[in-house]
């Protein structure tokens, strides 16, 4: 683990840019950082434990109580009821059609055979026969592992949410493409939607729309809307000016230009946005099942309550499979549409003929699945249970081997890093941590960071959860530090060895897409309910993105530069530390920023496994009406923490000349890019 020292060595302030090696005017920044920390520690040693604004688990302030009352006045209005009924009607009729039995009939209107045949046909129609086979195989897997109904439910909720996302998102995308003022306003809203922990708006959505499918659709929509708006908007705006000028000379109106030039030319980007929206929607599967949203999240969650890792793993992997299937289908569809638009590739008449002919076996399958019970309800198999049992026994032996090491590691990180830092951040009087954070923000992020830092800290203070916020900030920093250690070690390794890259990519994709609730059980078995458990869960979720970004960044370092270093006789170690990493600084900053945001996204889940603080407050507020205000305040505190860190990092990156990290939104939506690359 010697390479670990490559990561920013100043343990006390991870999240900062790597030590600047370029000459800066006057005193280097890291000297300032150390000075501030030293000052902080000196004042802390006299004042620790005073004015920390700590609030115990069941306490709340008047502000929170007032907020709860305000939240309580929402609800029961005809508009939201109407929307809920409308969504319910759509989902219910689709479920009755293809997923759930409609009593006294023992099966849905169209049985599994018919549904599989139709889906396969659609796969062929929008893409090609390879996709058709993938679709058929996925649908058969749903049934064979015993989750037919839940899988189809998930598809229904996902596709209905995506449908709404397109209807709402596409006009917004056009709006932000046409007006930069609108773009600024909309982007702010999208930032909020993506950083606000879902559990927080669950509180509102449940009050407004009741429980079940409507709430699931609306929560999913809120989370899945940003990618399509951002990516499509970007695509439409970025159509080549030459093309626009050429057609403008023909005297077209703005509308004509949009419909005839910009949208068609941005087709590929728009479908990419759609693809990202679908994947974001899928990642809401588990959260939606907290309020009885239909789908594969339900068996995952119920396995968690039974402590049955294997039983959660199977539906968890089916969610991943659904993701692969939808991702590949939309990608192939976009490639096909591109090809057809260029007028190449196929004879449309023959294709229509083939598709028509194929309708015959599809119709037979649909018809048959209405009458024969085995074609209507998927025959029971024991595949699911036996896979679960194998997974459980594997997990048992792995955890028992790792048990002692795990305990030592947890103690090392907790006593060595987590506790001292928490003591400094959270046991300082609020004004001290406030001043310390502000100064650090300015030193690291420069003058541009002042306004966002001051604003965020002020509002966090007003939300009355200062102490809990500092505890979360501390865990976030430690988790990000670990993420970056992994990011640098594995990123560099992957960039330097093609074989490692090929072997790791699928694992990384898996880590990003498998629901966190699945691996909570083994992580809990190893580390017990502690902050460290929450950190491990967050690292599993965040590290893949960071590793990929670092790997891509290091690989992009021009071979000539590396070659030049080699010719002067530098060792591998020198090559990595003196050439590759400094040259990839932009990627390192971006990876750190993304790592932080991913870690923050896991705060609430951390609250479920012993991390307490804001995550606990959010879940507490969801379940108890009288604490709804506290839960809301906790959610907002998480958002503000995210915005503050993001802005500081971004201006730090600009100062370092690394170019601004991509907007959080576009990267937060998970990609399956690696599946394609590895496949």
């Amino acid at each position: 683990m010697t390479t670990a020292t490559v990561a920013p060595a100043k343990q006390v302030q991870p999240g900062a840019v790597p030590p600047p090696t370029e000459p800066t005017q006057g005193i280097p920044r890291w000297v300032w950082v150390l000075t501030i920390l030293a000052g902080w520690i000196v004042v802390w040693s006299f004042t620790k434990g005073t004015d920390t604004l700590a609030l115990s688990g069941q306490d709340q302030t008047d502000f929170h109580a007032r907020l709860s009352d305000r939240v309580g006045t929402f609800g029961d209005n005809p508009v939201t009821q109407g929307i809920a009924n409308f969504i319910n009607a759509i989902i219910d009729s689709l479920r009755g059609l293809i997923a759930t039995p409609t009593p006294p009939r023992p099966a849905p209107t169209i049985g599994w055979l018919g549904v599989t045949a139709v889906a396969t046909w659609v796969g062929y129609a929008v893409a090609n026969w390879r996709i058709a086979l993938l679709v058929a195989a996925s649908f058969l897997a749903f049934g064979l592992f015993g989750f037919w109904e839940d899988s189809i439910d998930l598809l229904i909720v996902t596709l209905v949410s995506v449908g709404f996302a397109v209807v709402i998102g596409f006009p917004l995308a056009i709006l932000i493409a046409l007006s930069s003022t609108a773009a600024r306003v909309v982007t702010l809203g999208l930032d909020l939607l993506q950083t606000m922990p879902t559990f927080v708006y669950l509180i509102f959505v449940v009050i407004l729309f009741g429980i079940g499918a409507p709430t699931a659709v609306i929560c999913t929509l809120a989370y899945a809307l940003p990618p399509i708006v951002r990516i499509s908007g970007f695509g439409i705006r970025d159509v080549s000016p030459a093309a626009i000028e050429a057609t403008d000379s023909l005297g077209q109106t703005t509308w004509q230009r949009l419909v005839k030039v910009q949208i068609p030319m941005a087709r590929k980007t728009i479908i990419l946005g759609l693809n990202q929206t679908i994947l974001a929607a899928l990642s809401m599967a588990i959260i939606a099942s907290y309020i009885n949203g239909p789908g594969l999240g339900k068996p995952v969650l119920s396995a968690l309550t039974r402590n049955d890792f294997g039983a959660g793993l199977v539906p968890g992997l089916l969610i991943v499979l659904t993701g692969i299937m939808l991702d590949r289908t939309t990608t192939a569809a976009s490639e096909r549409s591109e090809r057809v638009a260029r007028g190449g590739g196929e004879d449309p008449r023959r294709r229509r003929l083939v598709l028509g002919a194929l309708l015959v076996p599809v119709a037979v399958a649909v018809w048959y699945s209405r009458y024969a019970i085995d074609a209507a309800n998927f025959p029971a198999t024991t595949w699911g249970r036996s896979t679960a049992d194998v997974a459980n026994s594997w997990m048992g032996s792995i955890t028992s081997v790792l048990d002692t090491v795990a305990g030592k590691l947890a103690d090392l990180v907790s006593y060595g890093l987590l506790n001292p830092m928490e003591s400094l951040l959270a046991d300082s009087p609020w004004w001290l941590s406030c001043a310390g954070l502000l100064l650090l923000g300015v030193v690291i992020g420069g003058r541009k960071a002042i306004v966002p830092t001051v604003l965020c800290l002020a509002v966090i203070y007003q939300l009355d959860l200062w102490h809990d916020t500092m505890v979360v900030l501390n865990m976030t920093l430690v988790a990000t530090l670990l993420v970056m250690v992994l990011g640098v070690v594995f990123g560099v390794w992957m960039a330097r060895r093609r074989a490692v890259d090929l072997a790791l990519r699928p694992l990384l994709d898996g880590g990003q897409t498998i629901p966190a609730f699945v691996y909570l059980i083994p992580v809990l078995a190893l580390f017990g309910p502690t902050r460290f458990t929450a950190i491990v869960a967050a690292v599993i979720y965040a590290a893949p993105a960071a590793i990929k970004l670092v790997a891509d960044g290091v690989r992009a370092v021009s071979p000539e530069v590396v070659e030049a270093g080699r010719s002067t006789g530098s060792t591998t170690w020198q090559e990595i530390t003196k050439v590759q990493l400094p040259m990839a600084k932009g990627s390192l900053v971006l990876a750190t920023n993304q790592g932080l945001l991913y870690v923050l996204a896991m705060v609430v889940i951390g609250g479920l496994v012993g991390a307490g603080a804001l995550g606990y407050d959010v879940v507490f507020g969801l379940a108890n009406g009288e604490y709804a205000g506290k839960g809301l305040a906790a959610g907002l505190s998480i958002v503000l923490l995210g915005i503050m860190i993001d802005r500081v990092m971004r201006s730090a990156a600009e100062r370092a000349g690394a170019g601004a990290p991509a907007r959080s939104g576009s990267v937060r939506s998970r990609g399956f890019g690696g599946w394609r690359r590895s496949g």
């Binding site: 062929y124 402590n307 309910p529």
Partner: protein, 328 residues
């Protein structure tokens, strides 16, 4: 140009696999089963219709819900739906909106229940027979090795042993799920105990912690409760706190006594329970013991049965109890 032969090969594969599946499928017909279901409804006497059971996320509750659900489905031919919801707010929201008909194991959401009764949309319909016992527990090995730990007065002598990375140099007391009724922080403070309450965050986390503590002989004291399936698997003992007296928990910040034993409640949607659905009578008659519930729960957890199978097995083993629940 696309390779046409390839395309036709793909088509042929698709079509032939379709035909294969068709011919392989035997089994009964949907029509037969529909008829059987209709007969069952006629036989049940009175109609049931839709019956929506709320399921809160702990195994004991799953046992309640699936046993009642299985009886409703099998004997009354109801169309049962299970709604997976967090307890408290979301569950009451379901009663209010009419999506859910009954909460079979309500512990302590007095505020929500009162709001429901005032609003007229749901009401307390008696007890499922279970008694809820909340308390401070230690793993059995600890109770055996240090018997005096079972009295709260001696807890401070052992505070060092319970110290963890999370407890700031004090003893760690493991709190539980944010949604559970708990005021351990107040008890610790008011009894002058040298402990810090650390919240596990969920039932799974708490169960794992006790399991591990018993297996590895680790020191652990924490919030636990009955009925809970893990008691059968992981033995633990309840520490005695100053006994509960009426009203000693009135002011939650001044509590210095043990938790009250609570008779759990069934809370049903008013319109549902007053309807002539046969399921309404079943809900009112349903009553069993903590042992019954733990039995079903252990089928689910220790034996890995699905909730449906576990419920069916218990129903088969206890025909008399089930008979008593059916509407007369």
């Amino acid at each position: 140009m696309l390779d046409l032969n390839k395309r036709w090969a793909g088509l042929a594969a698709l079509a032939s696999s379709g035909v294969l599946v068709l011919t392989a499928c035997g089994g009964g017909s949907v029509g037969d089963e529909t008829k059987a279901n209709e007969e069952k409804i006629a036989e049940a006497g009175g109609t049931c219709g839709d019956f929506n059971i709320i399921v809160n996320p702990w195994v004991g509750f799953t046992a309640d819900a699936y046993v009642v659900g299985a009886v409703a489905e099998e004997k009354l031919a109801c169309n049962v739906t299970y709604l997976d919801l967090k307890e408290g707010g979301p569950s009451y929201q379901a009663l209010k909106s009419g999506d859910g008909d009954v909460i079979l194991e309500e512990w302590s959401h007095a505020e929500e229940l009162k709001a429901a009764e005032d609003g007229g949309y749901a009401q307390d319909v008696g007890s499922p027979g279970n008694v809820g016992i909340i308390g401070w527990y230690v793993p059995q090995w600890l109770a055996e090795d240090h018997p005096d730990i079972m009295e709260w007065e001696n807890l401070n002598d052992y505070a060092d042993e319970f110290e963890t990375s999370e407890s700031d140099g004090k003893g760690q007391f493991l709190g539980s799920d944010p949604t559970f009724t708990q005021y351990d922080e107040a008890i610790v403070e008011n009894l002058d105990l040298d402990y810090k309450v650390v919240f596990s965050g969920g039932e799974t986390a708490t169960v794992q912690a006790f399991k591990k503590a018993q297996e590895n002989k680790e020191w652990l004291i924490g919030y636990f409760w009955e009925p809970q399936y893990i008691h059968a698997e992981v033995p633990m003992e309840r520490v005695s706190l100053p006994p509960y007296e009426e009203g000693c928990d009135a002011d939650k910040s001044a509590v210095a006594c043990d938790y009250a034993e609570t008779e759990l409640k069934k809370v049903a949607r008013t319109e549902f329970i007053e309807s002539d659905s046969t399921a309404a009578a079943l809900v009112q008659n349903f009553s069993w013991t903590n042992e019954d519930q733990n039995q079903v729960a252990s089928y689910i957890t220790s034996e890995g049965m699905s909730p449906e199978d576990a419920a069916a097995r218990w129903i088969e083993e206890n025909p008399d109890k089930v008979e008593a629940w059916l509407p007369q």
